[in-house]
Symmetry: C2
Amino acid sequence: MTFHISLIILLFGVGHSSFSNPMLLVEQQLFQYIDDHQDEFVQKLAEWVAVESDSLQPRLRAKVTEMIKTAAVSLRCLGADVTLNDTGIQQLPDGQNISLPPVILAKLGEDPLKPTVCFYGHVDVMPAKIQDGWKTPPFTLTEIDGNLYGRGATDNKGPVLAWINAVSTFKALNIDLPVNIKFLIEGMEEAQSIGLEGLLEKENQRFFSSVDYIVISDNTWLTTKKPALTYGTRGNACFSIEVEGGEKDLHSGGVGGIIHEPMSDLIALLDSLVNSSGHILIPGIYDDVAPLTEEEKQLYEPIEFDLKEYKTNIGVKKFLYDTKEEILLHLWRFPSLSIHGIEGAFYEPGIKTVIPSRVTGKFSIRQVPHMALSTVECQVKKYLEDVFSERKSPNKLTVTMQMGASPWVANIRDPQFEAAKKAIKKVFKQDPDMIRDGATIPIARMFQKITKKSVMMFPIGAVDDGEHSQKEKISRSNYINGTKVFASFLLEISKLHGELKLEASKLKIET
Amino acid sequence: MTFHISLIILLFGVGHSSFSNPMLLVEQQLFQYIDDHQDEFVQKLAEWVAVESDSLQPRLRAKVTEMIKTAAVSLRCLGADVTLNDTGIQQLPDGQNISLPPVILAKLGEDPLKPTVCFYGHVDVMPAKIQDGWKTPPFTLTEIDGNLYGRGATDNKGPVLAWINAVSTFKALNIDLPVNIKFLIEGMEEAQSIGLEGLLEKENQRFFSSVDYIVISDNTWLTTKKPALTYGTRGNACFSIEVEGGEKDLHSGGVGGIIHEPMSDLIALLDSLVNSSGHILIPGIYDDVAPLTEEEKQLYEPIEFDLKEYKTNIGVKKFLYDTKEEILLHLWRFPSLSIHGIEGAFYEPGIKTVIPSRVTGKFSIRQVPHMALSTVECQVKKYLEDVFSERKSPNKLTVTMQMGASPWVANIRDPQFEAAKKAIKKVFKQDPDMIRDGATIPIARMFQKITKKSVMMFPIGAVDDGEHSQKEKISRSNYINGTKVFASFLLEISKLHGELKLEASKLKIET
């Protein structure tokens, strides 16, 4: 027999003890089950980690497909309607074509009275070899001092399984799922999610039409202990500045002192971009940065972030700013500019006194809402052309935006953020840090842009999980509590969504 | 029977026709012989070019030694007293040790009444493979339209043989050599003359004690038609600027905007070195540049140098200066600064948004008389440290002079320059361009510094000879006229040296 828990919640409202509140009762049952079955969940993670589903090495492509099929089996066990969707082929640098692994689209429940939550995850992993310096075999999940080490443990097999575990717990306890659930599970995330955007566009009016909320759990908290919800990422606009002089490289003895050297031009252009305080010198670049509101400022105060520890972790001596708030603001919601290198000039150890004829400088701007890529592109080009023209150099300048990814920011008042906060408070007994990510996570922006749905990043891993590194892990506690927090979230979002619907229908009757 | 021509000249003085001037008569005999035997000389060059005496590829070291021995045989045929001198071993980058080829020291004549001219040359060559784009087999001397193509044809086997041919012509005609001749022939020039400096120091008080003049013929004219004498080269001070931030490379999304990026510091430092007009911005750097005298200025006016053609040759659109004089002054006798590249930063095509933790910029200053290397080193370090300290960066700066070679300048009033001018006028019917070289030829400076003797660079190749390139050649005409000009030079230097001695002895008597 299946309880129609969402309906019960709507009827009974919120109480303060498990005796008067059936939702709390259900939650306690779910949590108890998860605790009791944690070894099974860890065992399942071990099985998944054992598949070397490395999406970067073409020779392992079959393993990725095998992993996708394994995930599909797990979803079918939940009772989901699963399809494997072909996204075409990948052309390798050597010209060879190779099939992309299929993308899983799955749905579980189609109750029009319930909200629909779509969970995104990936089951491919970064390469890993024991020779890289792993202390444990990377594809054998190994528990040491409460940590589960293995490639993919936190990125992203652990979180995907935590979600599946949560859903399976409802099923095991015969509790009706309070929401309709959809899954999008891919196998090419570590390779820039090749093929995914096309699928999203194709499925936007079908698979995504009934989706209310999209949850991604593919990043980590800001600390090791305090949970977090991520509501924004910076974008990334990558530029190249090419300065072309003559037809061939020249000898610095043979022409040094009589020609306009392309390298001097390039160095001057690169030096014009950002000052020693990290301030970007491109006119107008800060014009469209969203103003910092008082409300937003207050989000930063409670965030747990140990500057000293972070400094040690990244190995630098001093930051550009002194306070936690300034650091986080400049990392998350103000743009930054970094110079990466120069192509075409001497880069090896030793000496080579050549004057290169064509050099290309690379830099990138991590832009933030509401900086539009097209505006940034124009500002950068105009400015560099002006700086260059002042040099009166006969060389040829070409500025190109090589790649542009937009920033993403969610409305933290969306019901799913509220629901996640409540779930976190229940499981971890504290409020989450409301955080952004200074880096670019194109997938969040891609979902938001194409589907126009509410997107939330709901991490369960800790900051020291070492994604992509030789000591990737997820702690048993984060994995199991992550499973609980997802289960709790399903209850909470159902409830909040129901209340909203009730309010909306009341408004409808009143008007 | 042997004419004691030097004595005859001293007794007869200078006349204006071959009938009244025995030196002219001798010269005509020499020139006639050289013209008549030019095919033999070309044949000898073909034999030398056929030896792949590549000093850069250790597997060909035996060929270099073979070539040295071949040269030794030629010198012994002249009647010279030849020794092969061991200069030790070379340690290869893989740690292997390999013997250096011996250096030839040879002497011919020890008449205390005659001046002693030491000729320096090398018989090793740069690597060459037909696959590199040669139109003719590089080690088969091939004559096309009056040009003799082959590796080493102009650099430096042709000039070495031209000198030997000149001496052998005296011998063939049974004309007493007007000078004592010494030879220093090495086989490691293309590999920075490893081992040579030690030998020079060892032999300074022995082999070089009786030397009056040192002649190097290892460069080219400034044009294809007009002969030249080279009296100076710039030096080369190579610097590295290392900026070290944290312990590891960082992600520009993860820390961009909150740290002092080493790359920004380095770019600012590099940009502080030279302005868009090519002016070096290091305080004091021009202080010790020798003032330009009126007499020196006048050397530039008659120089044949087609700016337009040179621009086309090197493939640039515009020079920093408009006149021939300005161009040559800035190429030869004013310092220049070139930025070569950056080690430790991203240099490949594409995008990599990493913030490198340690980057090293490379630049060099071609310095000129009387800039001392130690002063330049201090000025550069002091300036860069000042610029860096203004940035208030927590990163670590290390400025290193990786290599320093001093400039060389000769006194163009030395008798050997006068003698060479006269010889050139006779053979080529025009005055030579008095030129310098913007590049660094350490050997000239090394001879000057160690032996304190007069050093002259006496090129016979043309500017289009393509040293080190896939179309290296010497024209038959330059090779044969080069042989004549060397023969004539021996007569002229003997005469001038004699006149100087006579004047000196007169002065001695008068005082």
